[in-house]
Symmetry: C2
Subunit: 228 residues, 2 copies
DNA sequence: GTACATAATATTGTCAACAATCGTGTTGTC
DNA sequence: GACAACACGATTGTTGACAATATTATGTAC
């Protein structure tokens, strides 16, 4: 399974995971060309499967596929970045609303188990796992909302947030701090819709506040795009 | 080009279009199994291209692909239907905001030309074209907002709305009436953000109001007949 | 007749070879 | 040297054949 996608499993999921992580950790620059044969050699998989993975990553907004040209790491603009966070606030507020309505003891345990993993990764300095788990928390939450639609929307926005964060963050910090997630769980446990939604909006604002969305792009953009 | 997707062209776009239309016109019931070989015979295309088309339709939420099982026309629940329209109101209000900011004379002409096509299809009783163009209006609008992100989000939600409307509508009416679209153009021309956003929210409420969210009316028919 | 195992069929998943396209370097002309 | 036409290598796109999996049909015991 890759980023909450039930239908994706096995080798294809692994390519997606690893490319996703490489982007999150800035090992892959926005605009970088992801060549199919190169990837198939690296992962020792057929080109068809690489292609499938790239197609999935495109639908998550992490890469852009140009016909007859190939796949490139996406380059969201500052305007798009702001829109992503604006909609995440609205979308995830709705998610929280539904989660509070239908949360069970088992659901709470799921969230707490995830939070424990986040803390463990954070404490041992494993930023790679920490970033992955921080995004994963929102996917678990979306799952608990019990709507495939909401879950897929959250996935789309969270993956884009990962890319945006890796492009525009000023400090070398996590995507989400575990503390915020703890507060969210508490508000959900108390079955308090208003405070829980407020906590979520604040949390997303925190994430956005760590970014520098006021100036020109720090990473050099594609020349073709700049002059086109 | 299929539903505002620049990158999709040629035969694959045609399969998508025709399946999309068949769903919109209730010739394909939700849950129907879209068999790859059958489709490849109907459209006289290779199975690989059919597969590609089904994958695109999945990312638009029109079909659900189950591993080793195949592709099925999606079956959005009533809860999901409400969420789609809720989110469309928020999303398209933002689209309108950006369109009003950056609209040009040429943009207005584009919208009016589209509206004229809608009216023509409506007047000659071509419901097939009318439904397609009604959804298309929102895609043109999203394009004028000048953000790939907003455009792709609108596409995802509009395609889902099409499916939802075909599932839950009580009267045999259009997805969108051309009158609402005319009002939107006028508000945009006046560069009035508030009224334009209000018009959009009202318009989407109108569409939602035509649905009966308590009764499902599945129409079963042969796949070959539906697509012919 | 029902339940279960098993074979037969239908359907999807995967691959490697081939075709089409694009980017780039080269050559020829002025 | 500037420019266009061309050819080459690199990269993506497509196909048909084959493998894996699921669904249906068949047979058998009780």
């Amino acid at each position: 399974m890759y980023q909450g996608r039930e239908a994706v499993s096995g080798p294809v999921a692994e390519i997606c995971e690893r490319i996703w992580l490489s982007i999150a950790e800035k090992r892959l620059r926005p605009g970088a060309h992801l060549k199919e044969e190169e990837l198939s050699e690296i992962f020792d998989l057929s080109r068809a499967r690489v292609r499938q993975a790239l197609s999935l990553l495109e639908s998550d907004g992490l890469v852009t596929i140009l016909p007859n040209r190939g796949a490139f790491v996406a380059q969201p603009t500052i305007e798009e970045a702001r829109d992503v966070f604006l909609f995440r606030k609205q979308l995830e507020a709705r998610v929280i609303e539904r989660v509070v309505e239908r949360i069970t003891e088992d659901g709470i345990r799921q969230l707490e188990a995830h939070l424990a993993e986040e803390r463990a990764a954070h404490d041992r300095g494993d930023t790679s796992a920490a970033v992955q788990l921080a995004g994963g928390f929102h996917l678990v939450l979306a799952d608990l909302a019990g709507s495939d639609f909401l879950a897929s929307m959250v996935r789309i926005l969270v993956s884009r947030s990962t890319l945006i964060t890796s492009m525009y963050r000023v400090r070398h910090l996590n995507n989400c701090a575990p503390e915020d997630h703890e507060g969210l769980i508490n508000a959900i446990r108390a079955r308090a819709p208003g405070p829980a939604q407020a906590a979520m909006r604040e949390h997303i604002d925190h994430v956005e506040a760590e970014l520098d969305l006021g100036e020109a792009t720090p990473v050099a953009r594609d020349l073709r795009q700049a002059l086109g």
